[in-house]
Symmetry: C2
Amino acid sequence: MKVGILGYGNLGRGIECAIKQNDDMELKAVFTRRNPEDVKILTEGVPVYSVNDIESKKDEIDVLILCGGSATDLPKQTPEYAKYFNVVDSFDTHARIPEHFNNVDKSAKENGHTALISCGWDPGMFSLNRLYANAILPEGNDYTFWGKGVSQGHSDAIRRVEGVKDGKQYTIPVESALEAVRNCENPELTTRQKHTRECFVVPEEGADLAKIEETIKNMPNYFSDYDTTVHFITEEELKANHSGIPHGGFVFRTGKTGWNGEHNHVIEYSLKLDSNPEFTASVIVSYARAVCRLNAEGQTGCKTVFDIAPAYLSSKSGAELRKTLL
Amino acid sequence: MKVGILGYGNLGRGIECAIKQNDDMELKAVFTRRNPEDVKILTEGVPVYSVNDIESKKDEIDVLILCGGSATDLPKQTPEYAKYFNVVDSFDTHARIPEHFNNVDKSAKENGHTALISCGWDPGMFSLNRLYANAILPEGNDYTFWGKGVSQGHSDAIRRVEGVKDGKQYTIPVESALEAVRNCENPELTTRQKHTRECFVVPEEGADLAKIEETIKNMPNYFSDYDTTVHFITEEELKANHSGIPHGGFVFRTGKTGWNGEHNHVIEYSLKLDSNPEFTASVIVSYARAVCRLNAEGQTGCKTVFDIAPAYLSSKSGAELRKTLL
């Protein structure tokens, strides 16, 4: 399976690493909007091309993985490149998924390609677990918690505060809320009761620390609805202790069965990830395999993780899977 | 969707309860090997027939759910009834799944039916989680723990001991082993290090308690490889505190990503179930929906949970699922 990567940031590099772990896959090319000569990749002997040359490579690539952002890149890129390639993206703006799906579906179908959107862990593996658990327990409640992990958006928000040189923000699920869910108490949880936010801030020299803390804690949308802690640290401490991109979270469904709903059940799925982009990339690469197979079977158009039979993700045969994993 | 149930024990009753929770399903008939007049079911107005009359009802039923045992019932029943019906079973003898699959596949294909075998939570949801996690993290380790829950086989083994009137056995995962796995220590665990066994025994009057305990603890295959605790209790206590059939467990995959495997990840799926048969039944009923849909699409033969795209399990449309759960 010959794989192309469009966009070589954290996610693109994660895709490259994941391909290395899968014997049936080969990285064929990386495409970039930057000057290709400025992009140094890890895999020896694989070319980096300008995105302007991408169309000319369409016959060399079985599936193109789009590593752009959801705000402005993917809404344009995925429908555009589904004209020339089978594609996978990690579009994660939940509210705009139906619109994105329709755009990509039209383009992929018209050109005989297979596309998979919104792949990763949320949307992605978390969505899958919500779907399975809802189908199994029709009478019940869903809970999703995120963290402990770094939120890129919230870290960016901190860095925009006056007097802040650098910073990282961790989203942390509230332990007592997790426990209440696990105990089938079916709590109704406010935003504040579900997650706390912890900020590590490097102030500029002479900055007003009290004012920075105040500004962060009262920032609407980002922090004002949460219990937020602000720690001031040095640049060295930030680099030494907070340079990773960990994340994770929990998906629960609690539900009832029995003639009179007399029995409780808890389904819990959780992830603890050292590297958010590398795990996301690993999910995407397994679905890239599925996309190639579906296209070979003539199943074109846009798909999501909901539409893919799990066996398509594995390099093993059906018989091997039944023997070893069922 | 018109559903038939063959076999009205704990699982069959669980299927009946699950059907009640799904608006697009209707219990059409229960078939039994007993005298139908002796079988009282919960749903009003639904007939109970002798299994001898089952073939004559084949046009009234969209999917037949087989609730027999894996040892002797299902190896015969599933291929036999796949001649006349779309079928779902919960065959759980892992080692014999490939053989069972082939037998059912042949029968279902020859007769234009769709069959799904080995449905439930293990095999079933646990298998699915092993497959997804293995596809995502090709370099890693798998761990499955069962419990805390009642093992029917081990409870039966206790009851066969001389001087034992009744008893229940709980399988309990070892907390320190779970923690070692969660911490990515990748432990190599012996049987004894993974689970303990706790027995609640009602002795017959005047029985030799020391001898009963000794016999249980040294029973090969069942108990001798485990740290086993034996509690002697009264019949009333057994009834009051141990009449449920709870179960559950944990499936983990821990794995590495990164150019040099520098990042660790933990995928954990767990179930905490008040009623093992009712949860199993709930899984089966959602897959019964998928079986009917696949058959309507002309996809015949034997399937497992690996072969079913998740969207087929839900009564919601693709657009609705993308909007609400992705």
